[in-house]
């Protein structure tokens, strides 16, 4: 009976996911460009695509850049998200409800819409960011262009991704924090424990599993990011020195129609994601199998 029930999903997944993954591996072993695409037939070249990617300095630079980018984004999202969650606990009810509503609103923003808003707020001619920074005396930002160097381009992408990612982390952690037993915190405080120790010994054990899940999810999302850098930096301004992994796959494989090399990069990228996702999958599996 259970096999009958999962049959449709397995069949569908096999057809529209298993087959593409098999095809991905096949493509990665082929010379497959525009001509081959039209002829529907590639030329087997063994591991040539992999060796050309692994010998390409752009691949290694992109990988390192992506890992640093991921670390920065995840670090910022988790730290700020935790701080907001801890803040939520300490607020009066009406402020808490207001802030939660605001967070949910941000969470709900479609990513593509958020990119448009970011482009508008940070544009050099009349972006509100330049105005606010100038008014607050951070310097003269009149007509300052934020997208001139790879570092700043990626910093703007980071600001967008952290802004979008904070609500999920803050709200989920707040929910976890509300499961910390009140009596325990109060008892510890009465015993004269400092607030840091209360946090470390009473609060942390309760929220650690949630922190773990949130961190691994953020790592996976931020490492595989595509839409935000692609649209915010702009397709015309993507150059090897600002590539992230997702952009690299797109530019090499799709834009340059070298699907064989693109497939090889995709496999390397998915392999890294698989390693990064072990913590999350194991955690979820535990929940899923035990229930």
């Amino acid at each position: 009976m259970p096999f009958l029930l999962i049959l449709p999903v397995v069949a569908v997944m096999g057809a529209i996911l298993g087959y593409p993954i098999y095809y991905l591996i096949r493509l990665s072993l082929q010379q497959y460009g525009l001509d081959e695409l039209l002829a529907h037939h590639g030329k087997y070249v063994g591991l040539d695509n992999f060796s050309s990617v692994l010998h390409d300095p752009i691949f290694w630079h992109t990988l390192v850049r992506s890992l640093i980018f991921t670390a920065a984004n995840v670090g910022l999202t988790m730290v700020l998200g935790t701080l907001i969650a801890l803040l939520l606990v300490r607020l009066s009810t009406w402020v808490r409800l207001l802030l939660t509503a605001g967070l949910v609103l941000v969470w709900a923003m479609p990513p593509v819409v958020a990119v448009q808003v970011w482009s508008w707020m940070t544009n050099s001619d009349n972006g509100v960011l330049n105005y606010v920074l100038t008014e607050l005396h951070f310097g003269n930002f009149f007509q300052h262009d934020w997208y001139t160097t790879p570092f700043w381009q990626l910093t703007m992408v980071t600001s967008l991704i952290v802004w979008e990612g904070l609500p999920f982390v803050a709200i989920t952690l707040y929910a976890a924090l509300s499961q910390v037993p009140h009596e325990l915190v109060e008892a510890a405080e009465i015993d004269g424990a400092r607030s840091w120790r209360v946090f470390k010994d009473v609060t942390m054990p309760v929220i650690t599993p949630v922190l773990l899940i949130l961190t691994s999810l953020s790592i996976l999302w931020d490492f595989g990011v595509f839409t935000q850098p692609f649209l915010l930096i702009g397709a015309g301004h993507l150059i090897p020195s600002n590539y992230l992994m997702g952009i690299y796959v797109y530019e090499k494989g799709y834009a340059l129609t070298d699907f064989g090399v693109g497939a090889a990069i995709s496999i390397l990228m998915l392999g890294i994601v698989a390693i990064l996702s072990i913590v999350y999958v194991r955690r979820m599996l535990k929940v899923g199998v035990e229930e």
């Binding site: 096999f3 529209i16 207001l98 698989a274 979820m284 929940v287 899923g288």
Partner: protein
């Protein structure tokens, strides 16, 4: 007591500042959408438009392909939701109610697939869809979205089914119902909210998706609503009409925000496997 009160006041001030900081971009989007051209083009910003205009909204609604792309998006949503609900429901039932060999493996697959970055599958899916003549067709994107909507639907529905006590089912069977009868009369009404939540989630996913839509759908008349929005910036020569872009952005964000409010708790629950009871 006084110290405690002033401390609370301090936290509240910080809370309000965070609120302003987080919500500002959304406020700025809506505010710009209602401003006149001079107001949005000046370096000194107008915070709240004194004479709100609807001109930008009218321009956005009348811009070419808006309604066509809304229609395309809705077709994709309906087909994706329709098929994936049935398949996902059956699989979720199996996961929630039976222990079977390969169950753990199946769960790993369901979770693992959600973790794959879509961009990693762009190359083979593009080549395959091309091979079967599905590039630049709605069917092509539906197939792709289906793959990504299905695992999440299975996972969320499973969460709903687990919450239903076995006794309820058994009681119905004792009353002389068949397994199918018990299922239809007892389970279905109880998971109805789960089916709604899953449909809404699929709607949001499809409405927001960019990568595959941009790679598969080339014709302006065959695109989805996110592509319509991004074409705004690409299509403008010289100065960008930010008022119109923000009006269009607002229009596109509204349905997602409304739907999201309805299912936000479920999404958080699904992503953390109920580690947090939101």
């Amino acid at each position: 007591m006084n110290r405690r009160l002033s401390r609370k006041l301090g936290w509240n001030v910080v809370g309000l500042l965070v609120f302003v900081f987080m919500v500002f971009p959304v406020f700025w989007m809506v505010s710009t959408a209602f401003k006149t051209e001079d107001q949005s083009n000046s370096f000194n910003p107008t915070w709240v438009p004194s004479h709100p205009t609807l001109a930008h909204f009218r321009a956005a609604l009348h811009r070419q392909y808006f309604w066509t792309d809304v229609k395309n998006t809705m077709i994709i949503v309906l087909v994706t939701v329709g098929i994936s609900l049935v398949a996902a429901f059956l699989a979720a039932l199996a996961l929630a109610k039976y222990r079977f060999a390969g169950r753990a493996m199946f769960i790993v697959l369901v979770i693992g697939i959600q973790m794959l970055p879509p961009i990693g599958l762009v190359i083979p899916l593009y080549v395959l869809l091309g091979r079967y003549g599905q590039v630049n067709t709605l069917t092509g994107v539906i197939l792709v979205y289906f793959t990504f909507a299905l695992p999440f639907a299975v996972w969320v529905l499973r969460g709903f089914l687990i919450g239903i006590p076995k006794e309820l089912e058994e009681a119905a069977m004792v009353d002389g119902s068949t397994r199918l009868g018990a299922f239809l009369r007892i389970l279905l009404p109880l998971v109805a909210p789960g089916l709604v939540a899953t449909s809404i989630f699929a709607f949001i996913t499809v409405w927001n998706e960019y990568i595959f839509a941009s790679i598969i759908l080339h014709d302006n008349s065959k695109q989805t609503i996110t592509l319509w929005l991004t074409n705004f910036l690409g299509g403008s020569i010289g100065g960008v009409d930010w008022g119109a872009v923000m009006a269009a952005s607002t229009l596109i964000a509204i349905p997602v925000i409304i739907f999201f409010l309805l299912v936000q708790r479920r999404i958080a629950f699904g992503l953390t496997a109920g580690a947090v009871k939101a």
